[in-house]
């Protein structure tokens, strides 16, 4: 596990380049900084200043080497590297509230922006006018879109929203792509069609959870057949395409989780306000989701002896005899983790993943060493 502290401010969002030598992140202000790895050091090589409001989302298109950023100033910019500097192109999103999250599609010919104006903007490049054009998905979204994720077929888009639901929409743009084949989520996919919506927690049926809070993070699995999302009521849910009734939620015992990703087809890693990543295992046959374990640096060995004077001092100050407070300081991150991204191996066989948080630090986690360090951790 490697941990690097970039700043003292929270890192709002980050994105990696193709060979994972450069990271673009927003240090909680209007700029985007790109850091390059030199041995063990991280040096800032570029500063992208164009936004007038906080940059809320960054995504790096690895194949075409373009960065898209979106901000609280209701704009999005597509940056291309020309002669060693990044040049921005404005994209008019036609939204009247801040943009919240942005994601390139898998084929990188379009991107989606979620915003506070209760709609998703799907933007694609129109060759004739040399301009980025956007289309809106509005119905039936009732509140801010907090998170987005594309399905591997480049057409379906999952959106987590503040109206307590997670939905799958079709973002099929006929100008840039062919008609997609049928998927377990549906076969007719005109633009803006909603193919799946997570249901409200049932009235008499208390066993259906996962609908009581804002949906913070969504993630498709590698095959696209499974969708996982985390919600503000401390639940994690997984839905399988085609089987609308099997939404399996796990009420976790931790604080709400903010971000989630699949690391294999059956294992999910999520992290959030508890400052450590957590593993969940989904069993497709039994359709059940179970808690796999807490992934973090192992606790330090017992502290050295405390003198009598210290004991009384602690009693006076903290009403407890020991020096350390039980909570929290044993984790790698010292504040909530806000974003998690897969570094190596894809969502199928992830070998490394990276987390950034409100403590301005970035942690790189190695799956193999985690599995060997925690004996009863099973990553299926």
């Amino acid at each position: 596990m490697a941990y690097h502290s970039f700043l003292l401010e929270p890192i709002s969002c980050h994105a990696w380049n193709k060979d994972r030598t450069q990271i673009a992140l927003c240090p909680n202000n209007h700029e985007v900084h790109i850091y390059k790895k030199d041995g063990t050091q991280w040096n800032r090589i570029h500063e992208l200043k164009e936004h007038n409001g906080q940059v809320t989302g960054i995504d790096w298109a690895t194949e075409s080497n373009r960065i898209v950023t979106c901000g609280a100033d209701r704009n999005a910019y597509v940056w291309t590297l020309k002669e060693g500097t990044w040049k921005p192109t404005l994209v008019i999103l036609r939204i009247n509230r801040a943009a919240r999250c942005v994601k390139w599609s898998p084929k990188e010919n379009k991107f989606a922006v979620g915003s506070g104006s209760r709609l998703i903007s799907i933007c694609y490049f129109e060759q004739e006018n040399d301009w980025w054009v956007c289309k809106h998905i509005k119905k039936p979204i009732r509140s801010t879109i907090l998170s987005l994720d594309w399905h591997p077929n480049n057409v379906l888009l999952a959106a987590g929203c503040c109206d307590f639901k997670c939905r799958v929409f079709s973002a099929y743009i006929k100008e840039v792509e062919e008609k997609p084949g049928p998927t377990p989520w549906g076969s007719k996919m005109p633009f803006g069609e909603m193919l799946f919506e997570s249901s409200e927690s049932g009235a008499a049926d208390q066993t259906v959870a996962g609908a009581g809070g804002w949906v913070h993070g969504v993630c498709f699995s590698h095959s696209g057949n499974r969708l996982a999302w985390t919600s503000h009521d401390s639940t994690v849910s997984v839905a399988e395409g085609g089987k609308t009734s099997t939404v399996n939620s796990l009420r976790s015992e931790t604080l709400p989780l903010l971000c989630v990703t699949f690391i294999t087809e059956n294992s999910i890693v999520a992290a959030g306000h508890d400052c450590y990543p957590v593993l969940f295992v989904y069993d497709g046959a039994k359709a059940s989701l179970t808690f796999g374990g807490k992934l973090d640096v192992p606790k330090q060995a017992a502290q050295k002896g405390i003198s009598a004077r210290e004991r009384f001092q602690n009693l006076d100050r903290r009403a407890s005899e020991t020096q350390s407070t039980e909570k929290d300081l044993n984790t790698l991150h010292k504040n909530s983790i806000s974003q998690i991204s897969v570094l190596e191996g894809g969502r199928n066989k992830c070998a490394k993943f990276c987390t950034t948080g409100m403590d301005g630090g970035m942690g790189i986690w190695d799956v193999k060493s985690l599995a060997s360090a925690m004996k009863d951790l099973k990553i299926v």
Partner: protein
């Protein structure tokens, strides 16, 4: 005696929910009648507080947590339910609280947390102490997540 509890609350809740379409006055009257005649507080209290009845307290807990008035907007029903739950919780001995919590499943623990916080809202002489004991055990079973679910729940008990 305890079939009283398991049968009646579901009946009462059902009756209240079905009578949503009737006139408010009739609803109020019928609901008062059913609650007072059917539930019969003194008899239950008498049985709960007598030592030989402690074996049935687990059942009482399960029964009183069944069919919570989550969907009804009627404040009276909610208050009566809360009152009943509080009575059952207070009747437990401190050493039995942990066993009581263990006998509940995850949904039950979440529901118990909701009632505990509802009970905190209106403290009476002894209720806070009892509720705090229950809170400690329920927290050990449900974790911080159960409290988060109380805070984010849109339909309160």
């Amino acid at each position: 005696m305890y079939s009283f509890i398991s049968g009646d609350i579901s009946q009462v809740a059902g009756r209240i929910c079905c009578s949503k379409n009737k006139q408010k006055k009739r609803e109020q009257h019928s609901q008062d009648l059913t609650l007072t005649t059917v539930i019969n507080p003194p008899a239950i209290l008498h049985c709960i507080l007598n030592p030989p009845c402690t074996g049935n307290l687990m059942e009482a807990l399960q029964a009183v947590l069944k069919n919570p008035p989550i969907n009804t907007k009627n404040q009276n029903v909610k208050e009566r339910a809360e009152g009943l739950v509080l009575k059952v919780l207070s009747a437990f001995k401190s050493s039995d609280i942990e066993k009581g919590v263990q006998s509940l499943d995850k949904n039950g623990v979440d529901l118990l947390m909701k009632y505990i916080y509802k009970g905190f809202e209106r403290p009476s002489e002894n209720s806070s102490a009892v509720l705090l004991l229950w809170h400690e055990k329920a927290l050990a079973a449900g974790g911080v997540g159960s409290i988060v679910r109380v805070l984010t729940a849109r339909k309160t008990v």
